[in-house]
C-alpha cells in the first residue's frame, strides 16, 4: 500500500517549477546564513550559549510559566491555558464573541496553523485575514505555508503575479515585485484600519518581566498587535525564557540562522495593554498558551531537546530532502527536519511516523541548528519507538504502531543467522555461489536504483585467501 505521504511526495517531485523554486530559495538562504557567521569560533560559542539558555528554561519550565503568568497578569495581560487545539480555538472564540467581532487580522503564527484556527473561525462566520505578505499570498490561493518563515517560498514571481491578477482583476497585471507588494499594502492597510481584533504568535516570552517578543520585517506584526482594540497572542508553552538578558543572544542567532539578516526590521516587545493616558495600542491583550502534546514530549529526557527549537527554519533550509520534495509534501504544519521530529511526537508515530523515515540522516540539520538539537538522534529514536516491542516503556505517542510482522521476522532471522557462525557461513557461501539467481527486483529500492551485486567470494573467504589469521 502506498501512503498518502508517498503519494504527495511523488506528485510534488513531478512539478519541475516548484522544485526549481525551492532550489533557488534554499541555495540563497544557505549562502546568506554562512555570510553572517564569518567567525566559526564565535558561531559555536553563540550556539552553545543559546542551547544553554533554552535548556535552562526547559529545566525550570513549570516554575517559569508560573512566574510568566504572574508577571503578565500583574502587567494587565490575560493568560489562558489550552491542552488541545480545540480548547485554544474555543478560548479565541469566546474572546471574539465577547467583543462581537466578526473578523480578525492575523500576524504570522505557526501555532494558529497548528490549531487550524482559520478553518475553525471561518466555520463560525468569522473572517480570518493573514497579513504577512507570504501568508496573504498563500491564503489567496487556498494553500498552507510550505515553510515556517517563508510561507510562499514554493511560488515564483510569475505565479504570484497571475494569482493577484486573477483575485484582483481591477488592478493592472504586473510581475514587478515592488508593485505587487504595494498592492498588498493598500489592500491590507484598510483591513488593519478596520479590524476589531488582531492575532499574533510569539517568538520569546520573558518570565522575569512578563514580556511577549515578536520578530518580523514587514510591520504587519506591529500593526496586528497595535491598531485593533484587542490583541490575542497564541503560542506553545515551551517558548518561555527566564530573563530579559536571555533574549539578545537568541534574537541574534535566530535572525542570522533564519534569513541571514543581522537583525530583523522590527523586534517588538509587548508588556502590557494600553495604560491610562496612552493614546493607542489594544485595550485588551490576551495570551493563549497551548500544550498540544508538548508536555508529553517534555516527559522524555531524550526527546525533550525537541522543545529547545526557536523556529528559525535553518534545518529546513539545509535539508536535502526538503529542498527536493518541498514543504507541502510533508502534509503537516511544520515541514522539514524539525517537522519530522515534532509532528510524529505530537500526532503519534502511527499518524506521522513515516516522516522520521524521510531523512538521509546526513546531519546537516543538527550542524546548523542554533540550539544544537540532535535531530538525527531523535529521528533514530522515533524510528526505534515506532517499531519497538516494549511500547509500554516509552511515552511516545503511537509507539510500536509501525511494527510489522514481516519486518520483525526478517530482522529476527537475520539476528539468529548472524549469531550462528555455521549458519552464517553456509548462507553467505550459498548466496555468493548462486548470486546470479538472486532477485533484481527489491521493491521500492530498485525502482530508482540497480540491485546491489554480491562479490565473487565472501569477505571471510577473501581474508582467508590473503592468509590473515583470525587469532
Amino acid at each position: 500500500m502506498t501512503s498518502t505521504f508517498r503519494q504527495t511526495v511523488r506528485a510534488n517531485l513531478a512539478k519541475p517549477e516548484v522544485r526549481a523554486n525551492f532550489y533557488r530559495a534554499m541555495d540563497g538562504l544557505m549562502t546568506r546564513r554562512l555570510d553572517q557567521f564569518p567567525d566559526k569560533a564565535e558561531l559555536e560559542r553563540l550556539r552553545t550559549q543559546s542551547m544553554a539558555i533554552r535548556a535552562n528554561a526547559l529545566s525550570k519550565l513549570p516554575e517559569l510559566l508560573e512566574t510568566l503568568e504572574a508577571n503578565l497578569t500583574r502587567n494587565g495581560i490575560q493568560v489562558h491555558w489550552a491542552e488541545t487545539p480545540e480548547q485554544g480555538n474555543q478560548i479565541v472564540q469566546a474572546i471574539l464573541e465577547r467583543h462581537n467581532a466578526k473578523s480578525i487580522i492575523k500576524g504570522k503564527s505557526m501555532v494558529s496553523e497548528e490549531m487550524g484556527m482559520n478553518h475553525f473561525l471561518e466555520a463560525l462566520g468569522i473572517e480570518c485575514l493573514e497579513s504577512d505578505l507570504g501568508e496573504f499570498i498563500i491564503q489567496l490561493d487556498g494553500e498552507t505555508p510550505s515553510h515556517i518563515i517563508m510561507p510562499a517560498i514554493h511560488k515564483n514571481r510569475i505565479q504570484i503575479a497571475k494569482l493577484f491578477h486573477q483575485k484582483f482583476p481591477d488592478i493592472p497585471y504586473t510581475e514587478d515585485v515592488d508593485e505587487l507588494t504595494q498592492t498588498a499594502r493598500r489592500i491590507l492597510r484598510d483591513k488593519f484600519y478596520a479590524a476589531p481584533v488582531g492575532l499574533s504568535g510569539v517568538n520569546f516570552m520573558v518570565a522575569e518581566t512578563g514580556t511577549l517578543c515578536l520578530v518580523e520585517n514587514e510591520g504587519n506584526g506591529r500593526m496586528s498587535t497595535t491598531a485593533p482594540p484587542v490583541h490575542i497572542a497564541v503560542t506553545g508553552i515551551e517558548k518561555v525564557v527566564e530573563s530579559l538578558s536571555d533574549v539578545p543572544p537568541l534574537l541574534s542567532i535566530l535572525t542570522r540562522s533564519a534569513t541571514g539578516q543581522p537583525i530583523t526590521t522590527y523586534f517588538n516587545m509587548i508588556s502590557s495593554p494600553r495604560k491610562v493616558g496612552e493614546k493607542d495600542g489594544p485595550e485588551e491583550v490576551h495570551l493563549v498558551l497551548l500544550d498540544n502534546g508538548r508536555s508529553n514530549i517534555y516527559s522524555d529526557p531524550e526527546l525533550l531537546a525537541t522543545l529547545r527549537c526557536i523556529r528559525c527554519g535553518a534545518c529546513i533550509n539545509h535539508c536535502p530532502v526538503y529542498v527536493r520534495i518541498g514543504g507541502h509534501s510533508y502534509g503537516t504544519v511544520y515541514p522539514g527536519p524539525i517537522g519530522s521530529i515534532l509532528e510524529p511526537q505530537k500526532a503519534g508515530l502511527d499518524v506521522h511516523g513515516e516522516l522520521a523515515q524521510a531523512s538521509t540522516l546526513c546531519g546537516a540539520c543538527s550542524e546548523v541548528c542554533p540550539v544544537r538539537i540532535p535531530i538525527p538522534s531523535i529521528l533514530n529514536r522515533l524510528r526505534y519507538d515506532g517499531v519497538r516491542k516494549d511500547a509500554a516503556n516509552t511515552n511516545t505517542v503511537g509507539s510500536g504502531k509501525r511494527r510489522t510482522l514481516s519486518e520483525a521476522a526478517t530482522w529476527k532471522t537475520w539476528a539468529w543467522a548472524a549469531t550462528h557462525p555455521t549458519i552464517y557461513h553456509a548462507g553467505s557461501t550459498l548466496a555468493t555461489r548462486f548470486k546470479g539467481m538472486l532477485p533484481t527486483n527489491l521493491g521500492a529500492w530498485t525502482t530508482v536504483r540497480s540491485a546491489p551485486k554480491l562479490a565473487e567470494s565472501t569477505l571471510h573467504q577473501q581474508v582467508k585467501n590473503l592468509g590473515v589469521d583470525h587469532e
Binding site: R24, L29, A52, I53, A55, N56, S59, L65, W81, A82, E83, S131, D132, L133, I137, P151, A152, K155, I160, V177, D178, T181, Q182, A184, R189, Y193, T209, N217, E218, G219, N220, R222, M223, T226, A227, S243, L244, S245, D246, P248, P249, P262, I263, T265, Y266, F267, N268, M269, S271, K275, E278, K279, D280, G281, D291, S295, N296, Y298, S299, P301
Partner: protein
C-alpha cells in the same frame, strides 16, 4: 476549562525528573571594544545597507536637517509631539516645516486621518545599537506606538551618547529590568521590508517606506 487545563499542564510538566542544566552565569556582554567613532561608523553602515537615510548633525544643525529632509521629500505635513524636548524645539520654529500635526487624542477619534492623511512622523529614540544598525524606540503618551508605524516616512533623532555597541549592552546599561518594561519597546532596523516574493527585497510593506535617522 482554562483552570483545569492549567492544572493539568503544570502537573504533567512537574511529573518527570528535570535535569539541572547548571546554567547560572549570564555573560552576554559585548566582546567588541568600539569607541564612539567606530559605533557611529558601524551604525551608519548597517542602516544604509537596509536603505535607511542617515544624517549627521549637531544640536545646532539638526532642525535644519529635518527641514531639508521634509523639503526634499515634498512632505505636506509632519506629525510631531509638542511635549517632548525635541518636539518643542521643532514646534517653536513651525514655519520652517510642513504643516505640523499632533497626536493629542486617542487613536479612536482620528484613526482615519492618521491612516490616510499623515505623510510623515518625527520621533525621538531611547537609544541605538551599533552592531546591528538599530534604533531603540519606547513609545509613550507623547509619542504613541503608531507614530513610528503608520505614516509612510519616519524621521527619528538618535543622540550619539545613547548609541550602544550591542543590544545586550543597551539592556544592561539602561537598566531595563530595574526600570520595568514599558507597554511597548521596539527595536527598529530600517524601513519596513519583505522578501516573501521570490526572495526579492521590497521596501514599505506595512510600515514606513522610508526611515530617516538624524544622529546628534
Amino acid at each position: 476549562m482554562s483552570n483545569t487545563a492549567r492544572a493539568n499542564i503544570l502537573a504533567r510538566l512537574r511529573e518527570p525528573q528535570r535535569p539541572d542544566c547548571g546554567f547560572n552565569e549570564r555573560d552576554y556582554l559585548s566582546r567588541y571594544d568600539w569607541d564612539t567613532a567606530e559605533r557611529v561608523r558601524r551604525f551608519t553602515e548597517r542602516m544604509v545597507a537596509v536603505r535607511a537615510e542617515v544624517h549627521h548633525a549637531t544640536p545646532e544643525t539638526w532642525l535644519d536637517v529635518v527641514s531639508q529632509v521634509c523639503a526634499a521629500k515634498g512632505l505636506s505635513n509632519l506629525l510631531v509631539s509638542p511635549e517632548t524636548m525635541l518636539g518643542k524645539q521643532l514646534h517653536a520654529q513651525a514655519d520652517r516645516f510642513p504643516a505640523l500635526k499632533t497626536y493629542d487624542q486617542p487613536i479612536e477619534s482620528w484613526k482615519q486621518e492618521l491612516f490616510y492623511g499623515v505623510d510623515a512622523a518625527f520621533t525621538g529614540t531611547y537609544g541605538g545599537i551599533a552592531e546591528t544598525g538599530t534604533l531603540i524606540v519606547m513609545p509613550s503618551a507623547d509619542e504613541p506606538r503608531l507614530m513610528s508605524l503608520v505614516p509612510p516616512v519616519h524621521i527619528a533623532v538618535l543622540e550619539v551618547d545613547k548609541l550602544y555597541t550591542t543590544f545586550a549592552e543597551a539592556v544592561q546599561a539602561q537598566g531595563w529590568v530595574q526600570a520595568g518594561m514599558p507597554t511597548n519597546a521596539l527595536l527598529i532596523s530600517g524601513p519596513s521590508k519583505s522578501a516573501d516574493i521570490e526572495q526579492t527585497l521590497a521596501y514599505g510593506v506595512h510600515g514606513p517606506k522610508e526611515l530617516v535617522v538624524i544622529l546628534i
